[in-house]
């Protein structure tokens, strides 16, 4: 195939968008190496914040919790959300519109209100607070994202593929696992990544639902900015990002989900 100029233009454009997306990330990373606490320019390079971070058990622990909660949330939300989108695609039923409309409140109502409501409700119903409550809340927040994203992908699915699989003797579960899910992969992955992002970056709900001593990174950051915000936070965020990039790039080497071709 010959390289067409249009393709080249497209690639350059994609590159520019990536630059736009990564500008703040790079700034964040740069500031983690800046000894000035107030992001003063020019940068005074140092590793101070990383050294401090290494001793900050509270922040490290929070990071661990965040990752844990986000992972659990991602798994649960993507599974449940994908199941629901498959149902929306396959069947027509009376309450479908209602169920679809029910996805709006969790995204449309500011998290602050949802968080307050959750706190009250969990208190009242005895669910209480803690990581388990955070997971409950995060999954619920992530579900609409997963459902909406997966539904967008599933629209192009040829139902004959499912029919074919069933005629070949595949049980409903096997149909989903071998035929529907592989097709949905890009949507499923995107949904999962959103779910992870929603949970990992969720501070309001976590904040309301955390118990003392067991907090998450965003909670730490959110409370920190009120008083003692330090670039340690940049440092740990940088570590997380670098780690994710490495991990995901490795994953993408071995697993393809970007579509059929």
């Amino acid at each position: 195939m010959k390289a067409r100029p249009v393709n080249l233009l497209g690639r350059v454009y994609l590159g520019l968008v990536l630059v736009f997306l990564y500008v703040p990330i790079l700034v964040m990373a740069a500031m983690s190496f800046n000894s000035s606490q107030f992001y003063m320019l020019p940068i005074d390079w140092s590793f101070d914040w990383y050294v401090k971070l290494a001793h900050n058990d509270r922040l490290l622990e929070a990071a661990r919790n965040s990752i844990l909660v986000a992972l659990v949330t991602t798994v649960i939300a993507s599974v449940l959300g994908t199941a629901a989108s498959i149902a929306f695609f396959r069947y027509d039923f009376r309450f479908k519109k209602v169920l679809q409309a029910a996805l709006f409140p969790p995204i449309a109502i500011p998290w602050l209100i949802t968080g307050t409501a959750m706190l009250l409700f969990f208190f009242w119903s005895g669910i209480g607070r803690g990581l388990h409550a955070m997971i409950l809340g995060h999954v619920a927040l992530a579900l609409p994202y997963v459902i909406i994203v997966v539904s967008a992908r599933i629209k192009g699915f040829d139902p004959d593929l499912e029919a074919a699989a069933r005629s070949l003797g595949a049980s409903p579960w096997q149909v989903i696992r071998h035929v529907t899910l592989p097709y949905l992969a890009p949507g499923f992955i995107a949904g999962a990544l959103f779910a992870f992002a929603v949970s990992f970056d969720q501070f309001v709900i976590s904040y309301f639902l955390s118990v003392p001593g067991v907090s998450t990174l965003p909670v730490e950051i959110y409370t920190a900015i009120k008083k003692g915000f330090t670039p340690e936070i940049n440092a740990i965020s940088t570590i997380v990002i670098v780690f994710s990039i490495t991990l995901l790039v490795i994953v993408s080497r071995f697993y393809r989900f970007g579509g059929d071709r």
Binding site: D160, A163, A165, S167, G169, S171
Partner: protein, 351 residues
């Protein structure tokens, strides 16, 4: 294996009646060809049998059991879709292996049987390709292999060989027939290839506008079509419209055609004569006494490989005559010729 009984099945899409009151009995282990013009409801019928959608009324039984009570995956049906419905994410091997895999067949057996099936459809060596890397005919063959590899009880084939060249098609036909005989799979297949339908099947059904028009053995259908539609749809036919008179068909110009048995009814009638039954005769001596004879003017000769088609005109009826491409007469357009055929080949049909 299992017989398939379709009784009084109707199916509509919105206002559109795709099947109306179709009843067919597919014998256990039989090879049944479904014919019908495009849009006549063949695919729709197969889909009802497979259980992908349900008839609005009527019932379908497989091996005596009503299909509705058995989920699709428990029915052991191999269906080949008209658009193939290959799994785009799986390799050719995995596509074909799918039916075995979900049955927990041991790995080694899967390998052997998929290999066999791919060989059967002449695609050995294509195991690792993805469907989008195949040509149209190759995809069709993968779909075929996928449907037969796990030896289902009932095989539903929707135009299984339409994208193949003749040589491959013949090969596949032989294989299909062999498998069906060996394993005794009840096979229902849709085809537009007449020859295929006639040579392969034990029984043929003709659908039109969602109704079953006629069924019978290929020979029955070919030699004794009941309707003008069946006569022209399956094979070619010259139709003569006339009035039944004294057991014979009187055409507008007065020519009288005799039929195998004298016509019982009187009034307007149509008779069909297959083009290959008609000979262009040069001297009347060759004619036997029970021949029908007609004069006609040659309009065009069409070369079609192993045969020639003569298009002729008799009054305002166009006629078509086949001659095997062996020692066919060399005729010029405009020439008047004499046509003759056995009275036994003159079949009265419903218009």
């Amino acid at each position: 294996m299992a017989s398939v009984t379709v009784s009084h099945v109707s199916k509509s899409f919105g206002d559109f009646q795709a099947l109306s009151d179709v009843s067919i009995e597919f014998a256990d282990g039989g090879f049944y060809a479904l014919l019908g013009p495009s849009g006549s409801g063949k695919t729709t019928l197969l889909r009802q049998i497979a259980g992908f959608s349900f008839p609005d009324s009527g019932e379908i039984r497989i091996g005596g059991e009503a299909v509705e009570s058995v989920p699709v995956e428990k029915r052991n049906i191999g269906m080949m879709f008209q658009n193939y419905a290959l799994f785009p994410n799986m390799s050719v091997f995995d596509n074909v292996a799918f039916g075995l895999m979900v049955r927990d067949t041991p790995r080694s057996e899967i390998k052997a049987r998929v290999g066999e099936a791919l060989e059967l459809v002449r695609l050995s060596g294509y195991d690792e390709r993805k469907p989008h890397q195949l040509s149209g005919g190759q995809r069709q063959r993968v779909a075929l292999a996928r449907a037969i590899v796990f030896r289902p009880q009932v095989l539903l084939l929707d135009e299984p060989l339409s994208a193949l060249d003749k040589a491959l098609r013949l090969g596949m036909q032989v294989e299909l027939k062999r498998i069906q005989r060996e394993v005794g799979i009840t096979t229902i297949f849709v085809t537009h290839d007449q020859e295929e339908a006639l040579t392969l099947s034990d029984k043929v059904g003709v659908l039109k506008d969602g109704k079953l028009l006629q069924e019978g053995t290929p020979r029955e259908l070919y030699e004794r079509p009941r309707t003008a539609f069946a006569a022209t749809f399956l094979g070619d036919a010259n139709l003569f419209n006339g009035i039944a008179d004294d057991g014979e068909l009187a055409l507008a110009d007065g020519t009288r055609l005799r039929t195998l048995e004298p016509l019982a009814r009187s009034g307007r009638m149509t008779c069909a004569v297959r083009p290959e039954k008609i000979a262009i005769v040069e001297d009347s001596a060759q004619l036997s006494s029970d021949s029908n004879v007609l004069e006609a003017e040659l309009e065009q000769t069409i070369f079609a490989g192993n045969s020639l088609s003569y298009l002729l005109r008799h009054g305002d009826t166009s006629l078509r005559v086949f001659a095997q491409n062996r020692a066919a007469a060399d005729l010029q357009p405009g020439q008047r010729v004499r046509l003759a055929w056995c009275s036994a080949d003159t079949i009265p049909v419903e218009a």
